[in-house]
């Protein structure tokens, strides 16, 4: 399986006569774009806003984020979700690098994220560095919150393919090849490393989709890392902290998978990925961890594993169970997690669960921390943040970092950590 990623660097996005990508400028025919996304009875109207890095703009009520992507040899992407079922991860894929599509929230009952494109907050999220194409969609009267989320999801995925279509037949700025195959003997003597990726598997608005279906319908299973980099998993989180939602953009550019690939053949032998659901009962957790660690040991023959989780404190239980069972099988484990230390950072118990085997952890920050943000020149997406934050977004705010997308990324897509003081 060989994935060839063609990156087309976007330097500017503007509206114009025709939807076209040329010389780093993505021009969008707004009417055509909106018409294309509006063919959904669950949405009554849709507007588009574009925000560039460095602009003093605050984007409020962000729900989900993806990147413009398409297969070079087909008209689709996101198999099982938007495109037909096919195995992701092979052939040529084009991405409009440096741009992102934001699903924005217009109703109560969900949790909206906040991105400042400049100032103190900009350092806490990768999305202050992308050109953000925001889809502001109003629901049709009587639409359930979960159906509104599904509608937003399809609109964003359609937008992703529609925009990336502009790259077809063009020469990419950079091509990166993802292929685990190495010449015979090249991997000998290198430690065999795998990635165990826990997927939050609860109900509507709190679910990632694996080839179109909620991950709770799966037992732990092996995926080729290319599949995840190429759209096999789509985020469906609308109701957990924006700071640790593993949004679709993060999955497509997964930092653990990309990091393991970059060291494959030199420092380690990247054996593959096990995805594992995070069920709700201890019996189910014991079962999935047993199966996941078994796959890592016998199918992937891993010596070591990076384990990541998705969701709130209760998923620390899954993380520790996975850690224990891997270590018991002789697989050395490293865990990535956020800490819960209270606003002052003085909390005694950083996680909900712990284990003596969890002796090598990476902290992506104290999720209870706050950040003081200056006022921006413009706010889009509403002057109040949906999901429990009441300060007026027009001025200076003191914001829990809980609201900033990827601030404490559980996939490790953040520079944040904690340090004793």
């Amino acid at each position: 399986m060989r994935l060839e990623m063609g990156y087309f660097d976007v330097k500017r996005v503007e509206f114009g006569q025709r939807t076209v990508f040329a010389g780093g400028v993505l021009t969008i025919n707004k009417d055509e774009f909106v018409r294309h996304l509006s063919l959904d009875s669950r949405i009554s109207s849709i507007d588009i806003a574009v925000v560039h890095p460095g602009e003093r703009v605050r984007i409020a009520n962000i729900l989900e984020i993806t990147e413009p992507r398409i297969k070079e040899a087909a008209e689709h992407y996101y198999p099982g979700m938007l495109g037909p079922i096919y195995r992701a991860g092979d052939g040529r894929t084009n991405a409009l690098r440096g741009s992102a599509i934001f699903e924005m929230c217009a109703i109560e009952g969900l949790i909206g994220g906040l991105v400042d494109m400049a100032g103190e907050g900009a350092q806490l999220t990768p999305y202050s560095g992308t050109i953000n194409i925001c889809l502001l969609a109003e629901p049709s009267p009587g639409t359930r919150a979960a159906d509104y989320c599904y509608a937003l999801k399809y609109a964003a995925l359609k937008a992703s393919v529609y925009l990336a279509k502009t790259t077809k037949g063009l020469k990419a700025d950079e091509v990166e090849v993802f292929d685990l195959k190495r010449p015979q003997g090249n991997l000998a003597g290198l430690p065999k490393v795998a990635y165990l990726m826990q997927l939050h598997s609860h109900g509507e608005t709190r679910e990632p989709f694996v080839y179109g279906v909620n991950s709770r319908n799966y037992y732990p299973t092996i995926l080729h890392p290319n599949e995840i980099l190429d759209g096999a998993i789509v985020c469906g989180h609308y109701n957990i902290s924006p700071a640790f939602r593993n949004d679709t953009y993060t999955l497509l550019n997964h930092p653990v998978i990309c990091g393991l690939f970059r060291r494959h053949g030199t420092e380690l032998d990247f054996r593959g990925v096990v995805i594992s659901p995070e069920p709700t009962s201890l019996t189910e957790i014991a079962r999935t961890s047993m199966m996941a660690s078994g796959l890592l040991k016998d199918a992937l023959q891993a010596d070591g594993v990076v384990v990541t989780k998705e969701g709130g404190g209760h998923t620390d239980v899954d993380l520790m169970e996975n850690c224990d069972l891997c270590e018991q099988l002789g697989i050395r484990a490293v865990l990535i997690d956020n800490e819960w230390l209270g606003p002052d950072g003085a909390g005694e118990f950083p996680l909900l669960a712990s284990s003596p085997n969890a002796d090598a952890m990476v902290s992506v920050g104290n999720v209870d921390g706050h950040v003081k943000l200056p006022g921006m020149d413009k706010v889009i997406g509403g002057t109040r943040l949906i999901g429990g934050f009441n300060q007026d977004l027009d001025g200076k705010i003191t914001l829990p970092i809980w609201f900033i997308p990827n601030a404490v990324s559980q996939a490790g897509f953040t520079y944040l950590s904690t340090e004793s003081r």
């Binding site: 930092p255 490293v334 865990l335 005694e348 970092i401 520079y415």
Partner: protein, 212 residues
């Protein structure tokens, strides 16, 4: 260049007015540097100087710490200091109590940097570590120069409005909380490097620790 105005606090021993027999003396303040305050002047050079030194006997202080700290604060406030330095107290229990109590009062009521120094086993450490910066010192006055250099360095940093770095870097005793920091490596990269160290049997350090 505006000179940094320092007020310094010491006890009867370091003021060299005698030791135990003067431990019952009440608080007073004099102009300029006295005792270890000389080190501060030397370390600051052109940047600033000790404008006044407050003194109190350790026994007098330890009998009614809160009330005496309040009296000392009144003496200090009149000099309008930019930073306040006390001690270091090394392993002296009563002196540690005085330094901790006065620094706490100064930092909370005057809102200026107040830094002291103590040996980690000084009983006053556990009382004040979460509220003020205490530079870690040796257990006796032998470590005065090194301790004072760190105290001054940290106090000046706080005066400039800079955020102090980790305890090991600045030399202060951990205050019992964690702060979010921005590192220079993506968390995923740190995780992979950590795993390789663990696999190769090299020394590694976890970023999350559990109590006990």
């Amino acid at each position: 260049v505006i000179m940094i105005r320092v007020v310094y606090y010491t006890n009867q021993v370091f003021w060299q007015t005698g030791s135990e027999e003067k431990a019952g003396v009440g608080p007073s303040i004099v102009q300029g540097a006295v005792g270890p305050g000389m080190f501060i002047n030397r370390l600051l050079g052109e940047q600033g100087k000790v404008i006044a030194t407050a003194i109190c006997g350790d026994n007098y202080f330890s009998e009614r710490p809160q009330a005496v700290a309040s009296q000392v604060l009144d003496l200090i406030e009149k000099w309008k200091p930019d930073i306040f330095i006390a001690g270091p107290a090394f392993n002296a229990g009563r002196y540690g109590l005085a330094c901790g109590q006065v620094c706490t009062a100064v930092s909370e009521r005057l809102g200026i940097p107040a830094v002291t120094g103590m040996f980690p086993e000084n009983p006053a450490v556990s009382l004040y570590r979460s509220r003020i910066f205490i530079i870690e010192t040796s257990n006796s006055g032998v470590g005065m120069t090194k301790a004072m250099a760190r105290i001054i360095n940290l106090a000046c940093k706080l005066h400039r409005g800079e955020r102090p770095r980790a305890p090991a870097v600045e030399g202060y005793i951990t205050r019992g909380f964690k702060e979010n920091i921005i590192t220079d490596k993506l968390a995923a990269e740190r995780a992979i490097s950590l795993l390789l160290k663990k696999l190769h049997g090299e020394a590694f350090e976890t970023e999350i620790t559990f109590p006990g």
